[in-house]
Structure formats: C-alpha cells, structure tokens
C-alpha cells in the first residue's frame, strides 16, 4: 500500500510539474496585469466604477491584438482599506504573477500597494491617489498619470484669486476662505496645497478643519464654518460626506457665497443628482472630465477609444448621465499604459524596460485631456487640474481657457446664507 501511495504521489508530482511547464509556456502569450480598487467598504462605489473602467480598457486592448502580440489577462482585487491593499498587492504579485498593477482610487491604498510592488519590480500605474507623498517617496516603478493633490488645491485657490474675487467685488487679499477636508492623505494633500497657495497669495484663511468620512453628524463642522462666515468654502470630500455637508450647510443657514469642491466627491455625477438644483453654481476642481469629443478630433484612435469607452460604461450605468471622473481616470491610466507605453517597452517582463518606455514617451493628449510627460519621480507633469462648475446638473469646464466650454454662473450662490 505504501509503495502504491509513493508511486501515486510521484506521478502526481510529475503531472503537476508538467502542468506547470505547460502554463509557463502559455504565459509567453499572456501579459498578466492586476487592478486593485476598493470594491467594498466606504469607497466601494467609486472603486467598482474604476474596476469596470479598467475591464473595458483591457477588453479594448485585447480586441486590438493585445500588447506586443500578448493578450492581456486581468486579475482583480478588492481593497477597502490600506492593509487589505497591501495584502492583495502581495497576492497579485506572488500568486497571480502580475507585472503591472492598475489602481487605486484612494491615496492610502496607493501608498500601501507601492510599498509592496516597488520592491518586487512590479509597476503601479496610479490614476486615483493624489497624495503628494506617492511620487515624493522615491518609488522607482510608480507612475502617476494625474496631477498631485497639492497642485489641485493650489489651482482652486488661483481661480478664487483670479476669477471669483472680482465676481464678488472684492480684492483677492480680502477674500476669506475656510477649508474643510476629509482626513485621509488625499484630503490632507489637497488642503495643504490650498493652504500653501493661500499664504503665498496673501489671502485670508479663516479656518481649516478636517473630519473622518464616517462621521455621522456634520453639525459641529458646519457650525464652525458658520462662526467663521467665509466668502469661499474650499472642501475635499468623497461623495456621501459631500452630500451630507451640503445638507447640513443648508440646515444651519451656513452656505457660503462660493462652494469650491476639490476632488472626486463633488465632481461625481451622483453628487449633483442627489442634491439636485442646489448644486447649480458649485465649483469642483479636478482632472478634466467629460470633455467634449472635439478635443480628441485630431487623434482618430484616441477619439474612437474615448467614444467607445463612454458608450460601454454608460451602457452598464443607465442611471448616470455622464461617466464619473474616477472611472475616466482609471480608464485613461490603463488604456494609455497598455496602448501607448507598453508597446514601446523592449521587454514586457523587465520593469526597467517598462520604466524607460514610460519616461521616454511623450504624448500630447490622453483621454483625460492632458498629455503624458513623466518626470524621474514617476509623476506626470503634463497633468493638470481644471475648474469645473455644476450647471443644470452637468459639469461645465470654466477654466483653463483652452478647455473652457462655458462661463461661470451663480457667483455668489443664490442659495448663499449670508
């Protein structure tokens, strides 16, 4: 019996190794990539949208023959918070053998993933986390396609100084600004950038408060805003807390003259759909979003890709009237990397080769309306934030001049309390 077991075991081992060899052989035809987003937990809504966007990008690339003749195989991972993000990054790298990871929506998750992937020579293509530290920490294989949080905050403040102050009939130095932000590295980075710019321009910061997204009552936050009575409220939020902040501002008659959101929470269609016409005139500083298709008219392939993506995404989300910005960014990161960068890499299994291609490639335009020009730190210095405004339930770009598709309205807000 023992002999029989030994023979059976040996046969099983041989068969396993043969299967492994076969798999190894077939791996040459497949490029394994991973995607890590919060599919459960507080950020699950945005995370699921991002994952859908990456799936669409992978399908599009595969339909066009894959990358260097290799079909792309996507492994998905759910990471509701940074610890899970690190665990899932380990799993994708060690068990699934991915060479590239797309992520991560939240900056905290991005930092956790980068700490795992960078050491293993796996590339992280980040299209959601905007914390400055992600590209300031010396990671070699982290490539961020979008702007830094600090920049986003400062762009919002610049717009307040240049365009909102005159509309309010005040000198920029007399404008009073209050900052309220959620307390993760995302909110912190944007708020830091805004505060720095406020000081640089000699403007007046009357208060700065931060809160945890799980806070159940926003009254205390809003009463502090009411006490400060700022002209402009600059906020950094996710969707649900942004909606509750607006409701509580109205409840306590504390709505300022200008509401300037910075980040995904106030740019997401769900935000305006939930609060309705009250959003008319709310600004949101973010990556360019839902740009008119004629922006892409000079690049037929990109034009078709953006058009196909929007159609495919909205077909799955009939309740939405526009693609959420987080999903557009996730698509842009995955699509640009697979379509424009990887085909130029000498060896897809060598991270240094991929890094060289990513840094050498310069693109005039991506699906987000800005180009691709990475610095040594992996940051895309062609990325910028623009100023959008909700008008009749739609996002209208009011700055910068080259992407502008409408004039700012409702300054001061008609629902302002003072």
């Amino acid at each position: 019996m023992k002999k029989f077991l030994s023979v059976a075991l040996a046969l099983a081992l041989i068969l396993t190794s043969l299967t492994a060899c076969t798999e190894e052989g077939s791996n040459n035809d497949v490029l394994k990539v991973g995607a890590i987003y919060p599919m459960s937990g507080t950020n699950a809504l945005l995370g699921s949208q991002c994952m859908e966007a990456v799936r669409i990008a992978v399908d599009m690339v595969n339909e066009n023959g894959g990358v260097q003749g290799r079909s792309v195989e996507l492994s998905e991972a759910d990471a509701p918070e940074p610890t899970a993000a690190a665990t899932e990054a380990n799993r994708l790298v060690d068990k699934e053998g991915v060479k590239i990871v797309f992520g991560s929506l939240a900056s905290g998750n991005a930092l956790s993933i980068a700490q795992v992937t960078d050491k293993r020579g796996v590339c992280l293509v980040e299209s959601g986390g905007i914390a400055d530290s992600l590209t300031d920490s010396g990671f070699k294989y982290v490539f961020r396609i979008l702007d830094k949080g600090g920049l986003r905050g400062s762009v919002g403040v610049d717009y307040i100084a240049e365009s909102i102050s005159p509309a309010l009939g005040k000198d920029a130095k007399d404008i009073e600004i209050a900052i309220v932000h959620e307390d993760s590295s995302y909110g912190e980075s944007v708020a830091n950038g805004a505060e720095k710019q406020i000081k640089k321009l000699g403007m007046n910061l009357v208060s700065r408060e931060h809160y945890n997204v799980s806070v159940t009552d926003m009254s205390a936050i809003v009463l502090n805003i009411k006490k400060a009575q700022p002209d402009v409220l600059l906020t950094v939020n996710y969707i649900d807390d942004a909606v509750r902040l607006v409701d509580t501002l109205k409840q306590h008659n504390a709505m300022p003259k200008v509401f300037m959101g910075c980040g995904a929470g106030t740019t997401d269609p769900k935000f305006a759909m939930t609060i309705g016409s009250d959003s008319d005139g709310f600004f949101c500083t973010d990556m360019p979003t839902n740009l008119p298709m004629d922006v892409f008219a000079g690049d037929e392939k990109l034009y078709n890709a953006v058009s196909d993506f929007r159609e495919a995404f909205l077909a799955q989300h009939k309740e939405l009237n526009a693609v959420p910005i987080a999903a557009e960014a996730a698509f842009t990161g995955a699509y640009t990397f697979m379509n424009d960068i990887l085909p130029k890499a000498g060896d897809l299994d060598d991270p240094d080769s991929i890094r060289s291609a990513a840094l050498e490639e310069k693109l005039e335009l991506t699906a987000l309306g800005f180009g691709w020009d990475l610095g040594e730190d992996g940051q895309n210095y062609a990325a910028f934030a623009n100023i959008n405004q909700w008008q009749n339930g739609k996002v209208v770009t009011v700055a910068p001049e080259k992407l502008k598709n409408g004039q700012a309205i409702n300054v001061p807000l008609p629902i302002s309390s003072y």
Binding site: A44, L45, S214, A220, N224
Partner: protein, 286 residues
Amino acid sequence: MEQVIQALISGILSGGIYALISVGLALIFGVVGLVNFAHGEFLMLSMYIAYWVYYFIKLEPYESLLINLVLMATVGYIVYKVIMTRVLEADHSMQMLLTLGLSMVLQNLALMLFKADYRNVRIDITTDVINIGFTNLSTARVLAFIVAIGASVALYLFLQKTYTGVAMKAVAQDGKAAKLMGINIKKIYGQAFIIGTMLVGLAGVLMSPMYSVFPTIGANFSTLAFIVVVLGGLSSIPGAIFGGILIGIVESMAGYLLGPAYQQAAYFLLFILVLIFKPSGIFGRE
C-alpha cells in the same frame, strides 16, 4: 453662545438616534446574552427595505413603517431560529465569531445584490428645517429623536409592566431560576431577539431620509452602538438611552469646541474613562 446651544441641541438629537440603535443591542445582550456584531447590518437591511419600498411603490419610509417592521421581525425570527439557536449554549467567543460572520455575509450579500451605490430617499423632510428662536433643527432629526425616545420609553414600560417583559427581565437576571419558575426561556430569547431587530429596524426607517444607504452603512453606527451599550451598562435600557444621548452631546460639543477632528477621539476618551472608573457602565450593576 447661540452656536454652543445649537451644537448641544444637535448633539442631543443625534444622541436619540444612537440610543434607538443601541437599545435593541442592549436588549439582545441583556436577555439572550448574545453580543450581536450583525446589529449594524440589520440597520443597513432596514434602510434598504425603506429605500426599495420608496423606489418601487413610492411609499415614504414613514408610510412604509409597518411593512418595514414586519419584514425586520421576520428577518429577526429567521436569523434566531436558523442561526442563533445553535449557539445559545456555546461559548461567548463562538457566538461573537458567528455574529461577526453573519455581519460579513450580510454586507457582502448587499454588495452583490445592490452594488456599492449610495442610494438616497430624498423627500421633503430630508432638507426641511424647524426654526425655533436662533436654532435650526432638521425636521427629520427632531422626528427621529421623538420617536426614538418614545420607543425606548415604551420598551422600558413593556419590560416593567407586562408579563412577557417581566419574564424577559427574569431571564436576563437568572436564566436557570426563570426556567424553574416555568418561563419558556427559548421563547423569551426569540421574542427579545425579534424586538431588538425591530427596534434597529425602526432606527433604519427614521434614518433613511437623512443618510444614504450602502452596504457598509451599518459599520458607521455599530461601533457607536457598542460604545453606547457598554457605557450605559451593557444590558440596561435606560443606560442605553442615557449613553446614546451622552455620546451625541460629547461628539457634537467636542466637534464644535475643539474641532471636528476630535469628535470621535472625545467619545472614545469618555468610553475609556468610564471603563477605568466604572467598568460595569454608568447604569450597570457592580
């Protein structure tokens, strides 16, 4: 000063909601002896029921209250019969692991069935405000507070004045002695579990116009509910009411006076202090 009073009132109103979520938890712990980690998910379930009834048949959460309570009672009955009865005699750690598992199953089931979308019941009361003097009170919160206190007092009277209520208290005090006195303790356990589930269901109905519902909404409130229950004295109903309002006040005042960043730190600090100086909770028996 006006804003300090406004912050105080806002805290009291939020505290009423915390109290209502917590009394169900305190009742289940007091009578059945179960630490129900799935309590927050029952809240989520009730909010989804309110949302879907509103979505499909346009009944506002207050109008669909009875439907919601009947469904929540059914959920409570099924969960008790199918799952909880199997661990009634088991070790506390087994019970906790089971309810923790149940909470994960419910959360992920909701994620699978309803996706991660934030769903809102935005009706007139969502943004309605009652102005009394210089204070601006959310009508939905005032209503939730009144109903929450009313329901908690009704539960307290039920426990004091009815045969079933007194039997529940007897089981809570000494299960074996209650059994010897002829009380069907399994039936009492089931009734307490169902009432506890209905109370959190009521909280879900009242909260639906104020909060978005999504699969993990329960987690935002379940930690608070556990703190309230421990603070109040574990199985004490008046303790849960008092604890809920106290937490609401501390959260709001700390947020206003020290800054929003200190809201959660303040009630956790209070929690630690109570555990150090009165480990059995404010209303708990030594």
